[in-house]
Symmetry: C2
Amino acid sequence: MVVEYALIVAGGQGTRMGTRTPKQFLELKGVPVLVHTVRAFLRYSGYIRIILVLPSAEIKTWQKLAAKYSLPAVILQSGGDTRFQSVKRGLEMIKEEGLVAIHDGVRPLISEDIIAASFRLAAVHGSAVASVRLKESVRMVDQHGTRALDRSQYRLIQTPQTFKTSIIRKAYELPEEPSLTDDASVAERAGHKISLFEGSYRNIKITDREDLNVAEGLMSTVEIKKG
Amino acid sequence: MVVEYALIVAGGQGTRMGTRTPKQFLELKGVPVLVHTVRAFLRYSGYIRIILVLPSAEIKTWQKLAAKYSLPAVILQSGGDTRFQSVKRGLEMIKEEGLVAIHDGVRPLISEDIIAASFRLAAVHGSAVASVRLKESVRMVDQHGTRALDRSQYRLIQTPQTFKTSIIRKAYELPEEPSLTDDASVAERAGHKISLFEGSYRNIKITDREDLNVAEGLMSTVEIKKG
C-alpha cells in the first residue's frame, strides 16, 4: 500500500485578526482551528502520517493541545519565513516515497471525501489540486482598464494539493519566487502538468474574525452535494 | 440634485434550495432576504426611488411583506425569463435621467457605504461596479490543461453596478447574448469603459441554504475595514 502523508502548513505567525493568538489556534465552536484540521485527516485514515509545520515558538502550544484533545503524535517541524520555506522544510521530513497532501492549517472544514479524492487522483496523475468554479463574474484589470472574461475558464484554487512525493520534493528545489503562490505553481514551474479536481465552497481559509463566523455558519449546515 | 434609482432584481423563481419558496423570500435571521436588501437602500437614502423586479406571481407576496414590515411603496415591475430581460424591463420604469444602482435582490448584506460610493463614482465615471480581489490562487483551464495566473490582475464582480441612466438604458437595447452575464458586460459591449470600485467580501449572493448560514455568520460580525 502506498504511503500517505499529510503536510499541514501552519507556519504563519500572523495576527491579522488583531488578537495575540496566531489564527491557526483561534477557536471555532470551542476547538482550535488547527485541531479541526488535523482531526479531518485522522478521520480520513488512521494510517496517514501527519507532518505539522508550525512556527518554532508554537510547537509547545501544539503539544499542549495534542494532550488536551488526545491527538496521536504527529511529525513536528518548525516553519520558515515564508509559506514556500515552510513547505520545503516540511517535505524534508518525508522518509518514504508515496503521496503527500499539502494542506493549509487554516482550512478546518476540509472533508474526508475531498482528502480521499485527492490521494486517489494524485496516484494516477501525479498531482491533484482542489479547486472550485467562480460563483461570480470575473474581470481582468491592467493599466488599460478592465474587461469581462468568461468565468467558466477559471478556477479558484484551494488545498489539499496532493502530489507524488518524488515530484513535489524535486520541485521545491527550485529557488523561491513571489509568483510561486502555491504548491501547484511550484510543481508547474518544475515542468509538471497540474490536475485539478472539484473541491468545495465549504473549504474556506480562515484569515480573519469574519471567516471564523462564516465557518461557524457552514458548520451548522449539512453539506449539500451540488449538481 | 441628481435622481437616484435602485433597480433591485429579484426575478428568479429558482428553488435550487429544494424549498418551494423562491430564494429572495427565504428568511435570514427571521426576515426575508429581499426585505433586508430593500432596507439597506432605504437606510442609504429616504429619497431613493426603488424599482423592484419580481416574477409576476410574486408581486402579491411582496405587497404582503411590505405591509408586514411597514416598507414604503416601491415601483413594482414583473420580470422576464432571464436576468437580462428582467433588468431591461426594470429600466423601462425609469422616468427621469439620473443614476441607477442595479443590485441583486439576493445580496442582502450590502452596506450603505458601498451604495453611496457607487453613486458617487458613477456620477463621475459613468459606471461604478463593486468588485473584490481574489483571496485564493487562480488558474485558467482550457482544452490543453490548466495554468497558474497572477491573481492580482483579476477581480470578482458583485453588485451594485451603478450607471448613468442614459448609458445603461441605451446599452440594454443590444440583443441578449449568453456572454452578457452582468450589467457591466452589457455596458461594455455597448462601447462604455467600466469603472470598478472596492466592494466587500460580506456582500455575498444567497443561492443556497449554505449561503444563508454564511450570511447569518457574517451578520454576527461587525464589519472589519480591511487595510
